[in-house]
């Protein structure tokens, strides 16, 4: 506090304005620049936000590039809403001089909102959440707050009774003289979500075609898959839920003409579901099975069979100011032969270790003993290289590691769009 006083006195700029603009005393440019020096230092923990827009719209704080340098750490987390929009939770965490001053502000976006609408709402929520911190620094005297009275209209009743339907299609094409490729996907979904129950129904299809010209020869290749799936879940208190999955699928990659599966399931969340945007530790048990028919005879001499199995999965999701952890593991086996089983792990860890140092690890692996659908015949060279057919394996894995160290200026207030803004380089991972 003394420090703020001292810096103010040194700058000799003790002006206060009222929001009644008429009676305002305009300070000189030097004055506002002096006030800006002691404005709250803010770290925005949201790599997918439009940071340049936020910086040009909210000028009463200073932006820093590392959480350890900040007086206010703003952690932004999102969750899907029933309508396919997102719930944004802005957690303001006071640090240093502001330690102990914390707050949470939420807003919702709709599925049909454009980027511009979402970023405007985000800026509105950020401003309102940052105002109490700015109130603790001298720049508060130059902040205007205005209020527009609401129109009289009341929100209407929901005639759709929480049902949301969505239809989408996408196509991807690329090519040059020696190759061309196109893929198509379509998707239909019908969802109904309330706090008591959740229903999800989905239909989707994907197909992929490619043509390559090599040494006067034309190589053609294709891959197709279709699926229908359903989920019904009802809530049993703050920690328990029960429900059932249903799935029908067909895939050339997996040599499956038609597979049907139904499975009742039960879930326990160690943390209350109300904290899901920041932490969850969910254990899900499934029991079920159904008939399956193959395209080609399998290595086990089957063209169709009925399979029953069970699975258990554990998912941990934590987002804290030091970073984010998302880890899941699951194990399953078939009842007719306990040796036909698989174990999957998947994890993503992003850490802000200390000033300037960040690390991320992202990866997954499986131990596979249940490739019951493998076709007998061997795959062709182009099916192997283009990954058009599932091959026999005992495992698979993928991993991404990254480490970065940044030093130098901590301030990131400046937006300079000249010759393009792209930072160039770097990897961004987004998990929904």
């Amino acid at each position: 506090m003394t420090r703020i006083f001292a810096s103010l006195a040194a700058a000799g700029i003790l002006t206060i304005g009222s929001t009644a603009r008429a009676g305002l005393v305009e300070p000189g440019q030097a004055d506002i620049n002096g006030l800006k020096k002691s404005a709250p230092k803010v770290y925005l923990d949201c790599p997918s936000c439009d940071l340049e827009y936020i910086k040009t719209e909210i000028t009463f704080v200073n932006y820093v590039r590392d959480r350890k340098e900040a007086q206010v750490h703003v952690l932004i987390t999102t969750q899907a809403t029933a309508s396919g929009g997102r719930e944004y939770t802005l957690t303001f965490i006071g640090q240093g001089d502001f330690k102990g001053t914390d707050d949470v502000v939420k807003f919702f976006s709709n599925k049909t909102d454009t980027e511009d609408e979402v970023r405007k709402d985000l800026v509105k929520s950020l401003k309102i959440g940052l105002a109490p911190y700015a109130a603790r620094t001298p720049i508060a005297s130059r902040i205007a707050v205005s209020y527009a009275a609401p129109p009289a209209a009341k929100p209407g009743k929901d005639k759709w009774n929480h049902w949301v339907f969505s239809l989408s299609g996408e196509g991807f094409f690329n090519g040059e003289s020696s190759m061309s490729r196109h893929s198509w996907g379509t998707n239909f979904s019908a969802n109904r979500t309330t706090e008591a129950a959740k229903i999800r129904l989905g239909l989707s299809g994907h197909f992929d075609r490619a043509r390559y010209e090599v040494g006067g020869e034309t190589i053609r290749s294709r891959r197709e898959s279709y699926s229908v799936n359903g989920l019904y879940v009802f809530s049993l208190g703050a920690h328990w839920s029960a429900g059932a999955f249903f799935e029908a699928e067909s895939s050339t990659y997996e040599n499956t003409k038609l597979g049907l599966r139904a499975a009742p399931a039960v879930e326990f969340n160690v943390f209350p579901y109300a904290q899901a945007t920041r932490r969850q530790l969910r254990l899900l048990y499934r029991l079920g099975g159904g008939p399956v028919r193959y395209h080609d005879e399998t290595i086990y001499d089957k063209i169709k069979e009925t399979l029953w199995g069970q699975s258990l999965s554990v998912t941990l999701d934590v987002k804290e100011k030091w970073g984010a952890v998302s880890v899941s593991g699951s194990g399953s086996h078939y009842f007719h032969d306990f040796g036909k089983n698989r174990l999957d792990v998947f994890g993503s860890i992003q850490l802000n270790l200390f000033k300037g140092l960040r690390a991320h690890v992202f990866g997954g692996g499986s131990r596979i003993r249940d490739q019951l659908s493998l076709a007998k015949g061997s795959a062709t060279l182009e099916q192997i290289l283009l990954r058009r057919r599932q091959l026999e394996t005992g495992y698979n894995y993928f991993a991404i590691f990254g480490l970065s160290y940044t030093f130098g200026s901590i301030y990131t207030n400046v937006v300079n769009p000249r010759f393009g803004s792209a930072g160039g380089g770097g990897i961004r991972i987004v998990i929904h």
């Binding site: 949470v104 192997i384 590691f401 010759f419």
Partner: protein
């Protein structure tokens, strides 16, 4: 300077609970003013509710927020906020001061400002929040900070990606270093990066291993001239097995004009960039034009449009380039992305790019193997290339429902995207 009231802070008293109980988001409440009681025995605040607009005066027992203003030593005013009812436990404290001997009106202004900003955290939990605008009254320089590094930022990074199964494995490694200084007047950016890639296939008696690597460096310096003009220079260094380039060095000078003022860049830009430069290149294998090294002069012109509007987003670049030794060695390229909301519920997006290519001076004579073709390890002769994707989605029903139900996982299955 006639006004000398000061507003600053005291340590805050209480943390807000991190997890706010969910309101029923499906039933938005009307934006009723927030009920506030103000006790200020030592300072007359007059019609404070009129100055606040979003609050209405209430008796202390009916108020959602009780505010108490007290005079402390040294002309310091303490403003305490106490939450009631739905805001129970959400308290805050601010202080402000007015220099001794000044009219009471100045102290009143400072105290009202503190009340107004202090009430924002209660307003943020109500539908009123959508109707409040907060802004800084003055234009301020983003560089008005005390920065011992003078805006220089350095960064070092390594990344890797590995994946595999019994018959296939692949790994990539990337390293980068960058240094930059961005102020409104200058932009300086230097970076160096390296990339290593390896794939191996082992199926029965078929074994194939493929490797590729590239090395790149770039430098950029831009000086701001006016709100529409900038000048600068580029320097690029690269080495790539895919493009048959052992080493290429390319300095260039450039000038840019933005049809819209740069200050509106987050909403709209239409930048036209002219660039002229030379490339000194050494190839790995002799090219189809019988060269192992050459020096090439070229010029290029590009136009970039970026719009972010309530109806959607547009980002597109059209670029043309040719070499001076042979004007027919040229390239025309269009890249773009449009996402457009036709009406509530119907969204359309397209993104893609295409090039007309007549300047593959680097193609190696030797050709490529079947594996090199399928795995795209070598650039092949072409006169065009394109990629685009289109998507259309239509949603109807209860599309404004804000309920979050995380049971059995949110979303319809997890997805992740990775971008470089």
């Amino acid at each position: 300077m006639t006004t000398t009231a000061r507003l600053f802070s005291a340590a805050s008293l209480l943390a807000f609970p991190l997890f706010v109980l969910a309101q029923d988001p499906a039933a938005p409440r009307p934006a009723d003013p927030i009920r506030v009681s103000v006790e200020s025995p030592a300072l007359a605040l007059g019609d404070w509710a009129k100055a606040l607009a979003f609050a209405e005066p209430a008796s202390p027992d009916k108020a959602q927020v009780a505010v108490r203003v007290e005079k402390k030593e040294g002309d310091v005013w303490a403003v305490a906020f106490t939450g009631r009812g739905e805001f129970e436990g959400q308290d805050d404290a601010l202080t402000c001061s007015a220099a001794a001997g000044l009219p009471e009106a100045e102290a009143k202004t400072a105290v009202l400002q503190a009340i107004k900003l202090g009430l924002m955290r209660y307003v943020s939990k109500t539908p009123l929040s959508g109707r409040v605008s907060i802004s800084l009254l003055d234009a301020v320089k983003p560089t008005a900070v005390a920065d011992p590094w003078n805006f220089w930022v350095f960064s070092l990074g390594v990344n890797s990606f590995v994946n595999g199964e019994k018959s296939y494995n692949s790994q990539s490694w990337m390293g980068n270093f960058s240094a930059g200084r961005v102020t409104p007047d200058w932009k300086i950016r230097l970076s160096l990066n390296g990339h290593l890639n390896k794939d191996a296939f082992n199926v029965l008696d078929y074994h194939y291993e493929s490797k590729s690597h590239s090395l790149g460096g770039s430098g950029l310096i831009v000086k701001s001239l006016t709100d529409h003009w900038s000048v600068g220079g580029f320097f690029n260094l690269s080495s790539s097995t895919y493009q048959n380039v052992r080493l290429s060095l390319a300095p260039a000078a450039a000038v840019e004009y933005d049809v819209f003022p740069y200050s509106e860049s987050t909403k709209r830009q239409l930048r036209i960039l002219y660039r002229v430069g030379l490339t000194r290149v050494r190839y790995r294998e002799e090219t189809i034009y019988d060269k192992t090294r050459e020096t090439l002069w070229s010029e290029s012109l590009s136009a970039t449009l970026e719009l972010k509007k309530p109806w959607g987003t547009v980002s597109a670049t059209l670029r043309g380039q040719h070499y001076f030794h042979d004007f027919k060695k040229n390239q025309l390229e269009l890249n773009g992305e449009v996402s457009f909301r036709v009406f509530r519920g119907l969204n359309f997006n397209i993104n893609g790019g295409g090039s007309r290519v007549h300047d593959q001076l680097y193609l190696a004579k030797g050709g490529a193997s079947l594996e090199e073709v399928l795995l795209r390890r070598r650039q092949l002769a072409t006169t065009y290339n394109y990629f685009f994707s289109v998507g259309l989605s239509y949603s109807f029903g209860s599309i404004f429902s804000n309920i979050v139900n995380p049971r059995f996982g949110s979303g319809g299955g997890s997805s992740f995207s990775l971008s470089f």
